[in-house]
């Protein structure tokens, strides 16, 4: 094999690929099983957006915290939440990450620094300011990352948090996952600024825009602003331009998208394919190595689904536990 031209070791590249493949496989499987009627509730898939979560999370450790969105599976997996626990949670089983009480929209694992997917748009931003404040008070060099969609970037909670983080000089990175749509509404219409860099400037922090389907671009930009935040340099905003492969949620017919749009995006901007081709072309990793990962991941997801389906349902008594007092 030739010399590695990338700023990541081969091991790290394999790790990145595995993470992205795991997210993809997880989501593709949910898409199929949801259509079969196996899965209850609202499910929002991250397929197509894997490079963003992965490129960012590779800079983090368990001491760093993230606050996620309704579209949280990818963030969870990239932050190290157990895939079996996630799958069981989505199936509403007692073995789930939240013992079945949260579901897809509320997966959390505080031991991994994952403060929760969130059903309320923008709600993660204040929370992550608190996580960053806690890190600052403790002086443990932890950082906080909050994710927000283009649509949710218009929420007052998010906007207030930009100001608060800047005023308090918190180690926070605000990641705008701009996939062009909020449900069926186009970002072009709903977000009034010309660029998120302008919005960041309006709150006194640096803003950076990257192609969120380019793993390397995300990894590099994120690395820089996370380092800066960790060293006390204050918050920043990172816009990742992304591609949503499926509907807003499972069941969305997506008639608002132009004909052929999704197919074209899948053909030209599949972040997973792009990463794979880049490392193979560079001669750093062999196709067979990636295929081996693909196989392992497929088996992992298959096992997670099997285990979830076999797992016990929460017991009736669980209804009244985990709240300070039930009447």
């Amino acid at each position: 094999m030739t010399e590695n031209p990338f700023p990541l070791s081969k091991d790290d590249l394999l790790r990145a690929y595995r993470t992205m493949r795991t997210i993809r496989e997880f989501e593709e499987r949910l898409h199929v099983d949801f259509a079969k009627g196996d899965i209850p509730g609202f499910v929002h898939l991250y397929a197509g957006e894997e490079a963003c979560a992965t490129g960012i999370m590779m800079h983090l450790n368990d001491n760093d915290r993230i606050a996620s969105t309704h579209r949280g599976h990818g963030h969870c997996i990239a932050k190290g939440v157990d895939v079996h626990a996630m799958m069981a949670e989505i199936y509403g089983r007692s073995t789930g990450a939240c013992r079945g009480k949260g579901g897809s929209m509320h997966i959390a694992d505080l031991s991994k620094g994952m403060m929760g997917a969130n059903g309320i748009l923008g709600a993660g931003a204040p929370l992550i300011c608190g996580a960053a404040l806690a890190a600052k008070v403790r002086g443990d060099r932890g950082v906080g990352i909050t994710f927000v969609g283009d649509g949710a970037s218009n929420q007052g909670t998010f906007l207030e948090s930009l100001n608060l983080a800047a005023v308090w000089n918190l180690p926070v990175v605000f990641v705008v996952e701009n996939n062009g749509y909020a449900e069926s509404t186009a970002m072009e219409w709903a977000v009034s600024c010309d660029s998120y860099v302008d919005r960041a400037t309006g709150f006194g922090m640096p803003g950076v825009t990257v192609d969120g389907t380019d793993f390397f671009a995300v990894h590099e930009a994120a690395g820089e602003i996370i380092r800066r935040a960790r060293e006390g340099g204050g918050p920043a905003l990172l816009e990742c331009n992304m591609v949503r492969f499926y509907g807003h949620f499972e069941g969305d017919a997506q008639t608002y998208r132009a004909k052929g749009e999704v197919e074209a995006l899948r053909a030209s901007r599949d972040c997973l394919v792009m990463l794979g081709e880049r490392v193979i072309e560079a001669g750093v990793i062999a196709r067979a190595e990636l295929q081996a990962i693909d196989g392992e991941v497929a088996a992992l997801i298959e096992d997670a689904v099997r285990a979830a389906k076999a797992a016990p349902l929460p017991a009736a008594g669980d209804l009244l536990t985990d709240v300070y007092v039930a009447y």
Binding site: S94, G100, G156, A186, V191, Y256, L313, A316, L319, V323
Partner: protein
């Protein structure tokens, strides 16, 4: 002309009829048109569950998509109402009230009083409530007690398509802010609904079933559970009167008291959490104003004091069941505690 339509269609029809009748009616919300700014089908969604589908084709720009900024657009609806329009703003899930509650309870609700009677705010805020949709803790709450507590707000929660249409038409014509709560698990339920326009006055409960042994009061989805409980009770030769409140504020105290004065027994059913809710509200009112008529303590059947769980196996236990309602009714009849095994909860 009458035909069977779903509650979803009934709401759509009410909006359509009022927009035709009154040019000051406008409708706004997130994706209530759908596809704004995108390059596919126009009017692509008609709301997240399709309630407003097709209205944009009929009324054009009087239906407005909004950015995801509930404070701004719910507040804008309120401001527009204070300036002479009659906006209907959709708060997709009432659970989102937490990001815009100030505009509702400190602004809209208080204008009339705070400005000495010199302002009116004819705004309707409509949105989904209720559990059973596997939508988990932040998309499944009733929250009706929070709105009912606030002076200046009117609060409506229909149990069927017929009422939904008539109450929404009334809400739009009303000169005060109205919180219109649509139980998402009733959207698909059909009943006979006249095609023409009609308004159901606020503060008039609907007696769905006559009975002399016990009164059961509820609203929204649990009305149907109450009816099922009444059927089960009838099989035990207990005749329950079932009252559907329709509006929670104003509330029809007279119908409740009149019924209890006849039956002497009362069960109040509320899908909301148990503390400071509609069940306590009604039980306390009757306890104060019709104490002499009561032959047994008023029984409350509510959701537990927990968030709504995701797991279907738990959520199904969360919403008050017909069995629990029937058991409560029997408790009023046999205060010592013996209830027929067959329908005890």
């Amino acid at each position: 002309m009458s035909r069977k339509i779903s509650m979803k269609q009934a709401i759509n029809e009410a909006l359509d009829l009022e927009m035709r009748r009154d040019p000051t009616v406008i409708v706004m919300g997130e994706d209530i048109v759908g596809g704004t700014g995108a390059h596919g089908e126009a009017d692509a969604w008609g709301g997240v569950l399709g309630v407003t589908k097709g209205l944009h084709a009929k009324h054009g720009d009087r239906l407005m998509d909004t950015p995801l900024s509930e404070s701004a657009y719910i507040g804008a609806a309120i401001g527009a109402a204070a300036c002479g329009l009659r906006p209907v703003a959709e708060l997709m899930f009432m659970d989102f009230m937490g990001v815009c509650f100030d505009q509702i309870f400190n602004q809209a609700a208080k204008f009339r009083y705070m400005f000495g009677g010199k302002a009116e705010t004819p705004v309707v805020i409509r949105g989904m409530v209720g559990a059973g949709f596997r939508a988990a803790a932040q998309h499944s709450q009733m929250l009706t007690p929070l709105f009912t507590h606030i002076p200046g707000l009117k609060v409506v929660c229909p149990s069927n398509a017929y009422d939904a249409k008539g109450l929404l038409i009334q809400a739009i014509r009303d000169n005060d802010p109205v919180i219109f709560c649509e139980h998402k698990n009733l959207y698909g339920m059909e009943c006979e609904v006249p095609a023409e326009s009609y308004a159901i006055p606020f503060g008039e409960a609907n007696v769905l079933r006559d009975g002399d042994d016990v009164t059961i009061v509820s609203y929204g989805l649990t009305v149907h559970r109450a009816m099922a409980a009444a059927d089960a009770l009838a099989r035990e030769r207990v005749e329950a009167e079932v009252i559907d409140l329709r509006t929670l504020s104003p509330i029809d105290w007279d119908s409740i008291v009149e019924s209890v004065e006849r039956t002497g027994r009362l069960v109040v059913v509320d899908e909301a959490h148990p503390r400071c809710n509609l069940a306590t509200d009604i039980a306390a009112y009757v306890g104060q104003h019709a104490f002499g008529a009561l032959k047994a303590g008023v029984q409350m059947v509510t959701a537990p004091h927990t968030p709504v769980p995701f797991a279907p196996s738990l959520e199904d236990l969360y919403v008050p069941s017909a069995e629990a309602i029937a058991a409560a009714a029997l408790r009023t009849l046999a205060p010592t505690g013996t209830t027929p095994r067959s329908i005890a909860a």
